[in-house]
Symmetry: none
Subunit: 289 residues, 4 copies
């Protein structure tokens, strides 16, 4: 009886004080996808006080690279420790961070050229609505951002360049900037699925959707300032050329963008160093001056 | 013995979790208002340990500016992070912070000239009693303060100048100081509601209630020291004239007041910098020397 | 003999190491003035390394207040300690600081209405050329600044408003802003020299030369940005009105200026706090971005 | 006994003065040049204890940009404060810093196409020997570095790419990377001296000497690692294209190089931030591991 009393006392105490008000990370959640005909996994970071409070939060979609999955930013990226610290120090403002799996079934953030695997459609038509329905997010563009590394940096580029109405900030890190031309597009598709034949029209359409340089050149004048860009790629990264050319192309096109080259290569050490800056940069849109 | 076991268990549990009863913010609460004939939203900040403790707290009413609502100080003002930090560092003493919505329905903190929309009456007759009934506030003047920015700085001025018996401290930031004369009053009312006609008496009464300079000149001798004032307006703020004239008028009238002009404009950056000073200043009244 | 040996050794050692490379202050120098028909005193601060190096330096003219003389900023203002610290911390860039006596003979920085005592002429025609000839100053406007407190704040205003071609920065602290109108001008002149009669034309000319508000209103459009202004006056200063009106007048006239009101009165505590900010502000002109 | 007295006297004197043999800067020295048929100015930074010690030092040639002269790094670049601090904190090792004037007579660090103005020859045949004869420098490649900004970044590139036997480190900041092709070369020469006619051979030879991309492509295999490179150019710099292409070209050519893009433009603020990193980077060659 005394035991029961004390257990209840503990429970009340903890509940009453909002004791477990620390941030939380779940890395094995899932949602059903009709588009991808399967359950899809995602990880989520909920900021300190998320459950105790009733306020709503901005949301960052944070994309992993090739060979990784929804657990990458959690395990290797130390997202919880880094976000907790950035929020506690006031360098960024609390937000929800969503990390979807783009590895299972087929790798990548794109719809394939034949629209048989439509990951991008899943992202916009199923994942985003699911998050905004099931978590207390602020559902306006201003309070939504996208970031990612390597293949996820490519996803960040293509999503925000083609859907500037959805994201206030986009932060590609060490980004794969897509095929440089039609030949490279063909070769890439061939390597991914040797058994599939694509028409020239399919290849060209895919190239135009996935080449970051093509997408930059296609930005209409009235959308040049639609997204706040923060682009970062180490000086020892093998993706130096695409990122340098993106910097030149955006300059010539007069698309405002922050661009950084720090010391380092294509490594988690680089991305963990970059993450607090990314969180701070996107908070500047969530904030108001 | 079992009791001892559980006491130790609790102690270990709390120690192990690094228990901190964190502050909480709710940004979507509401109360029913007969005066405004609708539910009215408000946000509230409850200090660390609020729920675990049984003590009562001072309360600050913190007013948002035009175009914002009860979430402004939460999202853009970083009230939770800033208040937590100020309390943790001992620069201010824990208090409850109430942030009501003055945007929905009709914008502003005033009763309109025809007393059809009576926000001020709602504030004093419904909101304050609701807060003091439903939260553990100290219901004396000494432990009650009001602050706000821009339009909310105007609300701070008018509320505290006309109700000096209710607030020990008042802190208008980058305040709108109301109409300068009757013509400006007419023009402002016209712009807000072109379809309404006001009598000269209505305009004049409204002017006398909303002009901060008029209210200062009307302060009776025995009320000059009734409220502690902290007034702050950036040197790049477009509201420079009203605030400079308030400084001169209060000096000539010998109303004690702290006055600050820092570097900056009409921005959240300015108000986030000011907030810790405001919390510290009003705490000096909650304290005892 | 041994004594001689060691004296030489010390001398060589000190000379060779540039050991006495600390900053120096002389507070009792003088130059001959034909205009004022007497020797005039001044104090000077020479930055660390001044003598050892052969480089040239920017120069700040730093004016004392009424009742003080060239030793004021040295003794009460702690100019050496404060400047040394600001330069060592990199908050300001090394400069020469000249502090002339405007107390002896007749008080103030102006020519009198009858041009019998011509301190302003002495300043520009004798003091400045003397300094630039005898010290390694950079003799361009860009590298010349003026600052001062109270009466010296008034001198700062009048000198820089009427000679914008000479100063890149001007920093009046707790400034006397001159007479508000002709009556006040007459009264001031009467109080200073009861025995002298002035014609109306003399009074008006003097008023137009010494009233800061008049001088601001007379600034031609192409000179509005000729001088960088940093104006600071405490919220408890008795000179609150003139300084607040200067802020309003410069805003309306669209003359860019930094304006600050900190906590404090007409005290050396206030000016010692302000001095590092002044040194930093004027260094921004000596620097290049 | 007298000896003892004087030894104590010295000790007290030195202790009392807080003796630090400070660094020195001279910004108005000159050397005679037969090649340029005139005296040429230079500034020099001598590290703390230079004169007291008898040791020799590494030397950095630090080049100014277009429109500036030998005083630029002293006044705007704060070379003394920044170098003192870097050495005191152990982030770099003491060195002599030489800043020659490349503005007087004709602007730039190159020989002109007709070899009538031979600044580069002056630099290598007169300035460097003069410095190494008159100051205690270590005259080996290992202890010699070159750095510079804008036009001086171009000088850094061309000098170190063509004379890799002379410099262990080269640090071009916000560098002008020279003409992109023959047409641009012709246009640049025309703009500088409209009255002079150049033969095609002269233009091509000049282009190959001044185009950084051409020089990179011409680096022989056995010289790829001859110089340690630290290249830095802000993301808002108008020289973004040349520097980004240099990064790509050096990568493809497998020339090891540190490359940085920080936040900022073509400003002294950027270069003052970069200078400590430059001093640290070149010190790594002066050091031994």
């Amino acid at each position: 009886m005394k035991k029961t009393f004390w257990m209840i006392a503990i429970a009340l105490l903890l509940a009453g004080q909002g004791v477990v008000a620390q941030s939380k990370v779940y890395d094995n959640l899932s949602l059903p996808s009709k588009i991808l005909k399967s359950d899809r996994k995602f990880a989520i970071y909920l900021p300190p006080n998320y459950e105790a409070s009733q306020r709503s939060y901005p949301v960052l979609y944070l994309l992993h690279g090739a060979g990784d999955d929804q657990t990458g930013w959690v395990q290797f990226g130390e997202v919880q420790h880094i976000a907790d610290k950035a929020f506690a120090e006031g360098k960024a403002t609390p937000m929800i961070i969503v990390m979807p799996d783009a590895n299972t079934g087929q790798r990548g953030y794109a719809n394939d050229p034949k629209n048989e695997w439509r990951y991008e459609d899943f992202f916009f038509q199923e994942l985003m609505p699911y998050i905004e329905k099931n978590y207390r997010t602020k559902p306006e563009k201003r309070f939504r951002a996208v970031a990612g590394l390597s293949m996820g940096g490519g996803g960040t580029f293509t999503y925000a360049l083609r859907r500037p109405e959805l994201f206030s900030s986009a932060c590609p890190l060490s980004a794969a900037t897509g095929p440089m031309n039609l030949e490279m597009t063909k070769a890439t598709l061939k390597r991914a699925k040797p058994e599939v034949e694509y028409t020239d029209a399919e290849v060209e359409a895919y190239y135009k959707r996935q080449s970051v340089l093509e997408l930059i050149n296609a930005v209409p004048d009235d959308k040049k300032k639609a997204v706040r860009w923060y682009i970062d790629c180490g000086d020892d990264d093998f993706l130096y050329e695409g990122n340098s050319l993106v910097h030149i192309a955006m300059k010539k096109k007069e698309i405002p963008h922050e661009f950084r080259i720090h010391d380092g290569g294509h490594t988690w050490t680089y991305w963990r160093r970059a993450l607090p800056e990314v969180l701070g940069f996107i908070s500047d849109a969530f904030h108001q001056y």
